[in-house]
Each structure stands twice: as C-alpha cells, then as structure tokens.
C-alpha cells in the first residue's frame, strides 16, 4: 500500500523563512508542494520521509527567494495490483461502488467486478448480491474487502503534481471478497 519514492526537485525558500534552519524551511516547501497531492505514476504523497541530498542555494535575479536542488524520499500511497485492501463503502450508483480508505476516497468497483449475480436496487440506491436465495445488501458505511485491479492516473506527466488525478479500480468478485460481514470467521 505504501512505498518510499525517491524524488528530485528544486525547491524555493521564500524570504520570510530565511530565519529558519535550512532544512526546516525545505521541509515546509516539500509539504506545501507534495503533501496530499498526487504525482502521476508514483501515487498519493503522504509526507516527507528523509533527505538524501541537498545542494547549495542559489538566488535568481528578480526573485527574493532562494532555490535549492534536493533529493529526498517521500512516503507515498499506491496500492499494488493484486493487493487486497479493506475499505469502507461510500456510495453506490448503477455504475458500481465507490469505496474509500479514510485518507483516500477515489476507489471505484465497477458493476462488472461485483460478486455474481448482483443487482442494483434503484429505489434504495444499493447493490444486492443474490447468494443462494439470500439478498445481501452492500450498505454505505460497511467495511469491504476488495482486490486492486488497476491504478489509473489522469495525467501521465510525472512532473506535474495535482490533487485529483488517481483512481484505484477494484474488484470484489471472488471468495472472501466483498463486505467483511459476509464471511464470518
């Protein structure tokens, strides 16, 4: 689910932070640019892990801030394909299920990746798995165990950091998958 990614960047320390120790100011710059944002191809950045290298600071004409080239490691959230994760059902639509883990909510389970056979109840807006004569509802707020099928990035440009662009596609078609309450110990 989590990994350390090595990143290289040139960070700006704004003049009002010149009085801070250098790495405190650089930490602030990393958090400001990366925390809770998505780097395409890498994942959702949680926070700075450690520094690997920092070069000298440079000033550019016309800019009061100083620029430093750094190499650092970020703690990143990116589920692996095939990984099984437990999340929570956020809401359902006729297209499928929307699931979240508390800090990330762009997880989608397509209607074709549900347990067979499943039907969508338009009135209650809920998916129901018809298992051996029983109607098992997939209610909002329930814990759900799903397998990661694919991680899709909207933008393939690795140099751009954005807030919205990662979708995790999952599946609950399989033994043991689906609502945690469906499979008692």
């Amino acid at each position: 689910m989590f990994k350390l990614a090595v990143l290289e960047d040139t960070l700006r320390i704004s003049p009002e932070r010149f009085s801070l120790p250098k790495f405190d100011a650089l930490c602030y710059a990393v958090h400001r640019k990366y925390s809770n944002r998505i780097v395409p191809g890498v994942g959702l950045c949680v926070g700075l892990w450690d520094w690997l290298k920092a070069e000298e600071d440079y000033l550019h004409p016309g800019d009061g801030g100083s620029w430093t080239k750094v190499i650092f490691r970020l703690l990143v959230f990116e589920p692996q394909v095939g990984e099984v994760i437990i999340g929570r059902v956020e809401h359902s639509s006729s297209e499928g299920l929307y699931v979240s883990v508390d800090f990330f909510n762009n997880i989608f389970i397509d209607r074709l990746a549900l347990q067979e056979p499943s039907v969508f109840d338009e009135e209650e807006q809920v998916w129901i798995w018809k298992y051996q004569g029983h109607d098992l509802h997939i209610d909002v707020g329930e814990d759900i165990r799903f397998r990661v099928v694919k991680v899709v990035y909207e933008n393939s440009d690795r140099s751009s950091v954005s807030t919205g662009a990662m979708t995790v596609q999952g599946s609950i078609a399989g033994d043991g998958l689906g609502l945690v309450s469906w499979w008692p110990k």
């Binding site: 095939g82 033994d175 110990k185």
Partner: protein, 97 residues
Amino acid sequence: MTPLTQYLQDTPAGTQCSSSLQSLFTQLEKFQLTVGELQMIANQRPNSVLQLLCILFDCERRFTEEEMAGILQIIDTTLEPSPIKGEVDMQSTPNSL
C-alpha cells in the same frame, strides 16, 4: 497525515510493534511468502483460511491445509490482537477515580 494515522490505528496494524512483526517474519520464512503477502498479513492479521486464500496468491496449490493452519497459528501467536472498533482506549481516560 491525521486521517491516515486514524485509519492505520483502526486496522490490525495499529496495535502491533516492530518486535512482534520481526518475530512474525522470522517464523514465516519457511513458507517463502512474497513481500506483498507478508505486508498484507501484517496489515490485516488474517484469522481464517478464507482470508488467507484471498491474500496468498495461488494458495491452494502452494500450501496444504496443515500448512495454512500453521500460518494462521503463527499469526495468532506472534501478533497483538486487532483493535476493536469503537472501543474506548483505557489509557487515555482521565485518572479521576
């Protein structure tokens, strides 16, 4: 970071410490599990064969029933019990009594 720590605290991973994880990994070495499988075991603390079937790739072909029971036994003895959701943390209540 706060939603993340909250999420992790509610999972079985929230009650473990590095020494129990080390013990878990050492005892599971003989089963030759992949890093991803070990990670999922540590994060979810499976307690039934069905949960192992989900987590371990090609489980039925790689392990016999006895071996799966052995894996579950090791998990149960080395890792701390999962946190129960909604349970009050006794250490954080005021010492007024």
